[in-house]
Amino acid sequence: MSTTEKTTKLKNIFIDGAITPERIATSIANHQTKTGIGAHDIFLGQVRADTIGTSTVSAIDYTAHTEMANTEMQKIREEAFSRFDLTCMHVYHSLGAVSAGGICLFVFVSSPHRQAAFDACRYVVENIKERLPVFGKELFAGGGHQWKENR
């Protein structure tokens, strides 16, 4: 398989701006015809208005090495499907500015049974945080910024 063929198959997890509740609802509704599913686990990352010294985060501006992130996400996806009994998995991450209170990460895993859904969701979220080359500039209300770093 050539690199080009492989690249065209990659899913793009990135969307511009915050992830809306409507998108999440649509995604859930799309699974109601899959009657082998018994359990969904959904993780949502939301931008916190953290206070650092006297400054408060008003938004995070996300950038990413998107080709690498999508490639790495594909590996995480394959790992999750091989480790857990999953029916589906969907992942979306924001690019650009997401205001405090906005949703920047949406991980949605579905399985016949709840243990696999719980285990897989956690596995995927931890690996996204650790392995995806995504960068976050925390913008302060009133100006200034700092770069976020995952723990």
Binding site: A69, H93, P133, G136
Partner: protein, 84 residues
């Protein structure tokens, strides 16, 4: 000893792009250059990198420091990840 140079795109992300002032540039590296050597030559070119934490991606993976970069399409300097 004579070596052939290859021109490779080097991309800087996040905090690094901010400190260096550019998002990418095209640079020449001799055949057989390792990731470790890239790190050294970029630190000379951009002294700001000396005090910054980053990893070097070769295309879409993170090879060991001893890996040779020949044949890659681009290098990317990645500051700490902050996804999610």
């Amino acid at each position: 000893m004579h070596t052939t140079d290859t021109t490779i795109t080097v991309r800087y992300f996040g905090l690094l792009a901010e400190h260096i002032g550019i998002g990418e540039e095209r640079l020449q590296f001799p055949t057989g250059t390792t990731v470790q050597q890239v790190r050294g030559s970029l630190c000379e070119r951009h002294p700001a990198l000396r005090n910054l934490k980053y990893r070097i991606a070769v295309d879409t993976s993170l090879p060991a420091d001893g890996a040779i970069i020949d044949g890659c399409a681009e290098l990317a300097l990645l500051p700490p990840f902050a996804g999610g």
